[in-house]
Each structure stands twice: as structure tokens, then as C-alpha cells.
Symmetry: C2
Subunit: 111 residues, 2 copies
DNA sequence: CCGGATCCTGCACGATACTG
DNA sequence: CAGTATCGTGCAGGATCCGG
């Protein structure tokens, strides 16, 4: 079994936290994942309401990236009107410790 | 004791994770904290070596912000040549669960 | 050795209009 | 309802020089 070592564009060593930040960094991803994980499956417009301040573009963009990473699952119902649900995947569930830790810290430190 | 509720610029509710991201979000803060927490007290240039790719400006800027947040402690020795050490604070130690969770995830998922 | 000051660039993020 | 398309912009982040 070969050793997989994380490197950046210049071939320098990266620590594992940088890998994580690459996947779920940015302003919205962890917040989205938190809601889908703990509030359960959500529709598109439900997420918009849960995320005050997010724009149309950012929500759909972040959802698409999260789906491509296999962290959430997109389920489309071909009805009228359209209905799309986003749920957490098994891989996404492995982020739970991170979400819980960050939520706990924000709650305690933020008052 | 009054209830402290997190709100954004428009008075909308924020979830605790957003508070956390405000404090330790961005490209470098968590990585810096990880090294100072688990590799122990570090000098300025030692941190530069531990953080391949970080620029002079970003390192000093992030260190200053982390110190102002009370997450790390800056100790200056008035010698020649100058010597400055950065160590984790008690408040900074409360981030340990987050750091461990993100490092663990990056290690497992990143291979 | 440890930074601050300045100037600059690019991309994350946003506003808005349009569509099946 | 659940998105795309287009166009802007501000600030995170970077390069470089200066100073104690």
C-alpha cells in the first residue's frame, strides 16, 4: 500500500487540516452541511430560509459542489411544481464531529 | 444575565457555526493554531517553515489577529537578535476538539 | 530576527434578470 | 419551485520594500 502524501501546487507538504479546508472551507459549506445534517433533509427554498444572507447563486453553487464531493445527496422529483430535496450522505455524516465541535465552540464562546 | 443572540449586519439570526467561522475562518488561522497547539510553542520563523506557502504579511497579520482574539500568546524577548515565541492560550485550547476533528477527517478522507 | 507599510491582483462572493 | 446566466465588486491574500 503506497503512502499518499498531500502536496500543494509547488510540491510542498500540506497538513491534513488544509485538505479539510479545501473541501469544506469558505463562507457557506459548513453552515449548509450543519443544517442538512441536524435539521434533516431540506428543500431548496427551505435552505434559503435557514441561511439568511445567502444569495441564489451561492446556494446553488455550493450545493452543486457539495454534491460533487459526495457529501450531500440531491433528489429531484419530476412534479409540477418542481421539488428538489437535499440530504446528507454517508460520507457527509463523517463530518459530524467537525460540525458538532464548531457549533459547540460558537455557542459557548459566542454566548 | 441577558441573552446574547448572534445577528448579522441586517439583524438576522446567525447559527453558532457562523460565529466560529468569523473567529477562525480563512485560509490560515486553523492551520496556524494546529501547529502551535500540537507542535508546541513556536518562534516566528519556525512557523514560516511549518507553513509552506504562507507569505510574510499573512503570517504576521494572522498571528496578530489570533493574539487579539486571545487565542494565542505572544512572548517577546528583548535580546539580540530578537526572539518572539507564540504559544497557545487557555481560550485557544478550547479549539482543540475542532482542530482534532478537522485533522482526523483530512487524514482519513485525504488518504 | 521579527515584523510594519504599501501597492496590487484575483477570485470569492454578490446583485439582478431570466428560464423550464 | 428551483435553478442558470451575466455582470460587478470588495476584500482576502500576495509581492516587495522599509525599519527596529
Amino acid at each position: 500500500m503506497t503512502e499518499e502524501i498531500q502536496v500543494d501546487d509547488n510540491g510542498k507538504l500540506k497538513c491534513s487540516i488544509e485538505y479539510t479546508l479545501n473541501k469544506v472551507g469558505g463562507k457557506w459549506k459548513l453552515v449548509i452541511l450543519w443544517h442538512i445534517t441536524f435539521d434533516g433533509t431540506q428543500r431548496y427554498n427551505e435552505l434559503r430560509r435557514l441561511l439568511p444572507g445567502i444569495t441564489h447563486k451561492m446556494l446553488s453553487q455550493q450545493l452543486k459542489e457539495l454534491e460533487q464531493e459526495g457529501l450531500i445527496i440531491r433528489t429531484q422529483y419530476n412534479e409540477m411544481p418542481p421539488k428538489v430535496e437535499y440530504s446528507i450522505s454517508e460520507r457527509g455524516l463523517t463530518l459530524k464531529p467537525i460540525l458538532e465541535a464548531m457549533h459547540e465552540w460558537g455557542t459557548v464562546q459566542g454566548g
